[in-house]
Symmetry: C2
Subunit: 763 residues, 2 copies
C-alpha cells in the first residue's frame, strides 16, 4: 500500500520522482545467473550507448528495476527533432526555431515522456536504445513505464470528485499528463455523457407519460444516436486540431516485428520506404471472416446453450432443486467464458501478427477490430436472443426443449404445451438489469475488485518480504553479508523505491478497453434503449462514476502508459456508426414487435417497418452529417486558416527581406511561442530546460558526464539517487553495470536458498 | 458557316486569334441610343481602367463586339499573383519564385485565360474590371467569352476520330485548353467507358447463355456499379492532385450577388471575411424539400397521366383511330414538358439565388442538385412505373381505366376484365429502347440538331445581312456614308470577325449538363440493366460517339467556356452513389419480380429480397471502399510526399545557410520549373512571356501604352488589328471609345431605318 500513501495532500517530497524518467523491470527468475548477467550487461550497454543515465535497484523477487534518466540537453534536442519531424510530415505548419543543435523545452510532460519513450524503444538507426519489452532479446524486460505524477493526478481526482462535468482545461491536463490517446477517451466519455442528458430527460418524461416501446421515444433515440455519432466525428477533428495531432499516424515508425518485402526509394521525397504489398495484406485481412465465423460459432453456441438451458430450467423443468439449478447455466457460462475468450484472443493476436502491419497504430487498430467482434457477440447476443427469439418464438421453441418429458423422465405432470406462456416482460427486465445492475457490477469488476486484489497482494508480499528478511538475518554469514546489505534500501530512497516496485507490479493500462466499454454501453442504448425509457438516465449516472473510476484505475492501479499520440478514438468510431445503424433497425423492430400482442405481428409488416427504418436512417444520417458539417465548418476550416497565416508570414518575411535588403532569416518562418501547460501553477518536477544552452562545442554533453548544475537542479535526494548508493561508492556507468550484477548475484543467492518465492503475479 | 471554314488543315493564318484574349458582346437593341452610348462609355472606361486594351467592332444586329487584350506583363503578373494565392491557400506546396513585380509565364493557355477572366470579371477591389455579364449594370453585356483555339481543337478531334481511347495526355490537353472543370468531365466519361467494357463483355456472354433477369448477371452488375463509383472517387482525387487543384474551392472569390450579414476578421489569418450564418442558409436549403415535392408532383402527374392514357389507349380502348391515338399521349407529353421544365427551372434558380451562396462553385453545386432531382424524375419515373406498377399491378389497374365502359360509352364489346393480360415484355422493350434508340435520338438532339439549326440560322443571317447591305447602298447619302463605311469589315479582318460574330452568337457551354447526362446513363444501367444484358454494350458504343460529339459541340457549337478550376465532377458524384444504391435495390426487386410468373410473387418475399440486397450493398460498399483505398493508398499519399519533399528542401536550405554562413534566400524554397503544355510542338499564338522583364521602375507598363516589341510579337495582321482600323485613324483608347460610339450610332441609324432586323436568337 506504500504506493498509495503518497496520495495525501501532505505528501510533498514523498511524491518526488527523483528525476527518474523511465523504469524498466528486468526479471531473471527463470534463467540462470550467467545468462542474466550477460543480458543485463547488454541492456545497460545499449542504454548508455544511447546516451542515457541508469541506476539499478532490486525489485520484488528475482528482478531488477533499471531507472533511466535522459540528460536534459539530449532530451531537449530529441524534442526539437520530433517537432521538426512533425513539421516535415505536415502535422504542424510552423517550422520550429533552431538549428541542428537546438535544445527545446517540452510544452507538456507528455511531450517530454514521449521523447524519452522514443529514446528507449526506437531502433538504434533512429537514435534510440532499441529496448522493446517482452520481445526478442528483451523478452525478460517485463515492464517499461514512466512514473506517475502523483501530485497532479491527486489534484485532478480531488477536483473531479467535486465537479459535475469535465472542462476543456481538464482534457488538456489529461493530454499533458498521459498523451492524446488517453485524452481522447476522456473527451469521448465527457462528450457522450453530456449528450446523454437529452435522452435522459426525455426518458423520464417518456417514462411518466408514454410507457415503454413508444414510437416517439424510439424515433428520438435513433435520431439522437445518429446526431451523436456525427457530432463526435466533428468534435474529434476539432480536438485533433486543438492538440496538433491531425494525421499523426503517418509519422509513426515501423514496428520491430514488421516484415517488409522490398525497400523502395520514394521518387518525390527520396526517403527509403519499407514496403509490404497492400494486396497481400488485404488478402491476409480476409482471414477476419473465418475468425469472425469461429468466434460467432464458439461464443454463439455457448450463449445459445446457456440461454436454452436457463429457459428450460426456469420454464419447463419442474423437478427437485429447481431453485438452485436455475443458476447453474449462468455459473457454467461465467466459468467457460474465461476459457474460450483467451483462446479467441490468442487467435486474434496471431491473425493480427500475420497481417503484418507497419506501425503499432495500425496493429492496435486491427486488434481492436477483432476484440470488437468478440465484445459485440458476448455483450449483445444474449439480449438479442431474448428480444428476437425467445419472446416472439418462445411458444414454438420452449415446449421442444422439454426433453425430459420426451425421454419419459418427467417427475410430475406439467401443463400441456399449448398452455405455455412466454414471459413477455423478460426482455424489459433484461434491459433494466443491463442498464442498472450490470453497470454497477461491471464497475466493481473493473475498478474495485482489482483494487482489493492489489491491496491483498501487497499485504501478502510485504509479509513474505519480511519473512525473507528474517531468513536473511538468521543465515547471515560473511560471504552473504555484502549481498544482503545490497538488498536493503537506503532510508531516503525506501519510500520512493517501494512506489516504483508497486508501479512495476501494476497492470498495463489499455485505453482501448475503456473506449470499447463505452461503445458497448452506447450499443445497449441504441439497440434496446426503447424498451425502458430510464436507460439513458441510468447510463448517465453510471458514467459520472465511471469517468472518475477509470481515472482512479489509470493513476492508482495501472502503470502510467507511454504518452502515445493519436488523432481519433480509433476503430471504435466505426463501431459506433455500426451500432447507430443496427440500433435504428433494432428499435424499429422492437417497437413493432412489443407494442401490441406479439401473436398478432405479421412478418411482412415487421420487415416493412425495418426496411422503412433503414431508409430513414440513411436519409437522416446524410442530412445530419451535411447539416453539422455546415454548421461547424469554421471548426474544420481553422486548420486551413492556420496554414494560411503561416504562409502569409513567410511571404511577408520575403517581401520585407526584398524591400529592406536584409536577407530573410528562416527564424521568421516561425510564429508565437507555444503555451506551456502547468498544474496549479506548480513548476514541473524537473527544472525548466528553457535556460539550458547547448554546450559550447555544439554537441550534446557526452553520455554519463552530467554537468554539475544539472544535478543541482533537483533536490539533494535526487542528486544522491543519481550518484548511486553511497555505501557502494559507485557513480559511473561501468560501476553501475557491476552494481547491477552484484544485485543479480545477491538476489540469485536468495532464490537458490529457496527463501524468496518467485513472485510472478497473474492479474 | 464562316466559323467552320477555319477547321480545315490548310486554314493556317485564318485561325489566328489576332491576339484577342477575350470578347464581350454588348447588345443595345432594346434601349435608346443615349443610354447605349453612356453604358458603352462606362464599359470601355472600366476595362481600360483595369489596364486592358480594347478594340470595338460591330456585331450582328444592334450589337458591338469588344475585343479585349491584356498587356503581356500585366497578365504575367496576374498569373504570378494567382499562383501565390494558390500557395497561400495550400493548393500547391511550392512557393513561386519572384517578388511583387514578377511576371510569370503561364503553363497552359487555360491558366492564361483564367487570369484574363479574373481581370475582366473580378470586382475593382480585387484588381479586375468588374464586368459581370447579364447582371446589374452590365445586363446588356450578353456574352463574355474567350476565342476558341481552332487549330488545337481541330487536331484533337481529328486525333480522336482515329483513336479508341483517350490517353492521359489527351486529358491534359483538354485541361490546358478548357480548364479542369471540363477536363474532369472527359476524364469521367473516359473512366466510365473503360469500366463499361467489363459488363459489356459479361453482358454478351450473359445474353447468349443466361437470358434476362439472371441473378448472376444482376449481382455482377451491382458489384460493378459499387466498384466503379468507389474507384472514380479515388481517380478524382488522383487527378485533382495531378492537376494541382485539390481543395481549389476555398480560394474562390465571392459572387457579386452574395449578400453577407456581417464582416468578420479571421482571428488567425487576419483576413476580412464576409459571413452569412450557416444555420440561416441551412434553413433556406430546407426549401429543397417543397421544391422536390412540387417537382415530383408536377412531373410525376404528367408522367402518370401520359402513361395511364397510353396504356388505356393501347390496352383497353378499341374504338376508331386507335392507331393514331396511341401516339397522342407521347406527343402531348413531349409538348407539355418544355412548358413545365422552364417553370421548374426558374423556381430552382430562384431558390438557389435565395440560398445565397458565397461562391459561384457552391451556387452551381446547389443548382445542379435541383436539376438532378428534375432529371431523375423525368428520366427514370416512366420506366419505374412500367417495372413496378404497370407490369405487377396491371391486371388490377388497367381494367379500372376503362372509363368508357363505365360511363356506358363503349362502342363495341371487348373481352371481360379477367381476360386482360399484361404485356410482361413491355418493361424489357422499354429498356432496349432506352439503351439503343433513346441514346441515338438523344445524341441527335444534343449535337446534330443544334448544328443543323445553327447552319440554317447562319444562312438566313447572311441572306438578311446581304439584304441590309443592299438597302444601305440604295439609301446611300452623304450623312450616312461614314456610318455605312464603318459597318464594312476590313478585308484582312473580315474572316476573323465573321468567326468572332459566330462565336458570340453560339450557346454557352454547360459542362454540368453533359455530366448529368452520363449520370442518367449510369442510372439506367444500375436500375434497369439487368432486364437486358446488352445494355452496357449499347452504352459503350454510344459513349464512343458521345465523347467525340460532345467535344464537337464544345468546340464548334458553343462559346469557349471560361477555364474554371474544380477538383471533382461535383454534386453528380453524390448522384452516382445514390444511383448505385438505388440500383442495387432495383436490380434485386426486378430479378425477384421477373424471373418467375409475376402472379406468384409474394410481397413479403420481395421485401425480404430487397432488404437483404440493401444490407449486401452496405457491406460491399464498405469493403470495396476500404480495399480500394488500401490498394491505391500510394496515389493518395503522393500529396503528403510532395509536401514532405518541399519542407525537406526548406530545412536543407536553412541548414546550408546556417553552416555556410550564407543567408538562406527564399528562392531556395522553390523547386523545379513546371512543365509547359504545348500542342504538337507548336508555339502558342502569343509570344512567350518568359522573356518579358518588368519595366525598369518596377510597375507594369501603363495601360494603353503598349511597348513596341509586344506588338511586333504577333503577326502584322495582329498589329493592324490592335492599332485600329486604318481608315478611322484611331489608335488610342479615348479614340476607341469614340469609334465605338460611332458604331452604335451607325447601327442605330439602320435599326431606326428598319432595314436591319433586331437579331436576337433564341436557341
Amino acid at each position: 500500500m506504500s504506493w498509495l500513501a503518497g496520495y495525501g495532500k501532505d505528501a510533498g517530497e514523498e511524491n518526488d520522482n527523483l528525476g527518474v524518467d523511465w523504469v524498466l523491470q528486468y526479471e531473471f527468475g527463470d534463467i540462470d545467473q550467467a545468462q542474466a548477467i550477460a543480458e543485463y550487461r547488454t541492456l545497460i550497454h545499449d542504454l548508455t550507448e544511447a546516451g542515457l543515465r541508469v541506476q539499478a535497484r532490486h525489485g520484488h523477487g528475482a528482478s531488477l528495476l533499471v531507472c533511466i534518466r535522459v540528460p536534459r540537453d539530449q532530451l531537449g534536442h530529441m524534442i526539437h527533432k520530433s517537432r521538426l519531424k512533425d513539421w516535415l510530415c505536415g502535422i504542424t505548419h510552423t517550422l520550429p526555431v533552431g538549428d541542428e543543435h537546438t535544445v527545446a523545452a517540452a510544452d507538456t510532460p507528455a511531450e517530454e515522456l514521449r521523447s524519452v519513450y522514443h529514446t528507449i524503444t526506437w531502433q538504434k538507426e533512429l537514435g534510440g536504445a532499441g529496448v522493446t519489452p517482452k520481445f526478442g532479446k528483451w523478452k525478460h524486460v517485463t515492464a517499461s513505464f514512466p512514473l506517475h505524477d502523483q501530485d497532479a493526478c491527486g489534484d485532478l481526482l480531488r477536483k473531479w470528485s467535486k465537479a459535475t462535468v469535465l472542462t476543456a482545461e481538464d482534457l488538456d491536463i489529461i493530454r499533458a499528463l498521459f498523451g492524446e490517446k488517453v485524452a481522447f477517451y476522456y473527451a469521448f466519455i465527457q462528450c457522450y455523457s453530456l449528450f446523454l442528458i437529452v435522452p435522459a430527460v426525455l426518458g423520464v418524461i417518456g417514462w411518466m407519460y408514454l410507457g415503454p416501446y413508444s414510437i416517439v421515444y424510439g424515433t428520438v433515440l435513433c435520431l439522437w444516436c445518429i446526431v451523436f455519432v456525427e457530432y463526435w466525428k466533428i468534435r474529434e477533428a476539432d480536438l485533433s486540431l486543438r492538440w496538433g495531432v491531425k494525421g499523426v499516424a503517418r509519422l509513426k515508425v515501423n514496428r520491430v516485428q514488421y516484415q517488409w518485402e522490398k525497400e523502395i526509394r520514394d521518387p518525390i521525397t527520396g526517403q527509403l520506404e519499407q514496403v509490404f504489398p497492400a494486396w497481400k495484406q488485404l488478402l491476409r485481412q480476409l482471414l477476419l471472416i473465418p475468425f469472425a465465423s469461429v468466434a460467432t460459432l464458439a461464443l454463439g453456441t455457448l450463449i445459445v446453450v446457456t440461454f436454452a438451458s436457463e429457459v428450460f430450467i426456469s420454464e419447463v423443468y419442474d423437478g427437485p432443486l429447481k431453485g438452485y439449478l436455475e443458476f447453474v447455466p449462468t455459473v457454467l457460462f461465467s466459468l467457460s467464458l474465461p476459457v474460450i475468450t483467451p483462446f479467441l484472443t490468442n487467435m486474434a493476436t496471431w491473425l493480427t501478427d500475420y497481417e503484418n502491419y507497419r506501425t503499432q497504430d495500425l496493429y492496435d487498430l486491427a486488434q481492436t477490430q477483432k476484440t470488437f467482434v468478440m465484445h459485440f457477440i458476448t455483450a449483445f447476443l444474449p439480449t438479442i436472443l431474448t428480444a428476437y427469439v425467445y419472446v416472439p418464438f418462445g411458444t414454438l421453441i420452449v415446449p421442444r426443449l422439454d426433453l425430459l418429458r420426451r425421454t419419459g423422465l418427467e417427475t410430475k405432470s406439467i401443463s400441456p404445451y399449448t398452455d405455455f406462456q412466454v414471459d413477455t416482460t423478460r426482455f424489459q427486465q433484461e434491459v433494466i438489469y443491463l442498464s442498472m445492475t450490470a453497470q454497477v457490477l461491471n464497475f466493481g469488476q473493473e475498478v474495485v475488485l482489482p483494487y482489493v486484489k492489489q491491496t491483498l497482494w501487497q499485504k501478502w508480499r510485504s509479509y513474505s518480504d519480511r519473512k525473507a528478511e528474517m531468513g536473511r538475518k538468521r543465515r547471515s554469514s560473511i560471504s552473504a553479508s555484502l549481498s544482503n546489505f545490497l538488498l536493503i534500501d537506503l532510508p531516503n530512497e525506501a519510500s520512493f523505491l517501494a512506489r516504483v516496485r508497486a508501479e512495476a507490479d501494476a497492470d498495463e493500462y489499455n485505453v482501448e478497453e475503456d473506449i470499447l466499454e463505452m461503445c458497448v454501453q452506447f450499443g445497449y442504448l441504441a439497440l434496446f434503449g426503447v424498451a425502458w425509457s430510464l436507460v439513458p438516465l441510468g447510463f448517465l449516472l453510471n458514467n459520472w462514476l465511471e469517468l472518475r473510476g477509470d481515472f482512479f484505475k489509470l493513476t492508482l492501479e495501472c502503470q502510467r502508459p507511454p504518452p502515445i499520440r493519436s488523432d481519433s478514438i480509433g476503430p471504435s468510431l466505426l463501431g459506433l456508426e455500426f451500432l447507430a445503424w443496427l440500433g435504428t433497425l433494432s428499435t424499429a423492430a422492437i417497437v413493432h414487435l412489443y407494442r401490441g400482442p406479439i401473436s398478432e405481428v405479421r412478418l411482412s409488416y415487421l420487415l416493412l417497418t425495418v426496411f422503412i427504418a433503414e431508409q430513414a436512417y440513411l436519409a437522416t444520417r446524410f442530412t445530419v452529417a451535411t447539416a453539422l458539417r455546415k454548421i461547424f465548418s469554421d471548426t474544420i476550416s481553422r486548420e486551413e486558416a492556420r496554414r494560411y497565416a503561416v504562409r502569409k508570414g513567410v511571404l511577408a518575411a520575403r517581401t520585407a527581406a526584398a524591400e529592406g535588403g536584409v536577407s530573410s532569416s528562416p527564424e521568421l518562418l516561425t510564429t508565437k511561442p507555444r503555451h506551456r501547460v502547468r498544474f496549479n501553477e506548480k513548476v514541473n518536477v524537473y527544472c525548466s530546460t528553457t535556460d539550458i544552452e547547448p554546450s559550447p562545442d555544439g554537441t550534446p554533453s557526452p553520455t554519463g558526464e552530467l554537468s554539475h548544475d544539472e544535478v543541482l537542479c533537483g533536490s539533494d535526494r535526487e542528486a544522491q539517487f543519481w550518484n548511486g548508493p553511497k555505501h557502494t561508492h559507485i557513480s559511473t556507468t561501468t560501476d553501475m553495470t557491476d552494481a547491477g550484477i552484484k544485485l543479480i548475484r545477491a538476489l540469485n543467492t536468495h532464490k537458490t536458498a529457496g527463501h524468496a518465492p518467485k513472485m510472478s503475479k497473474t492479474a
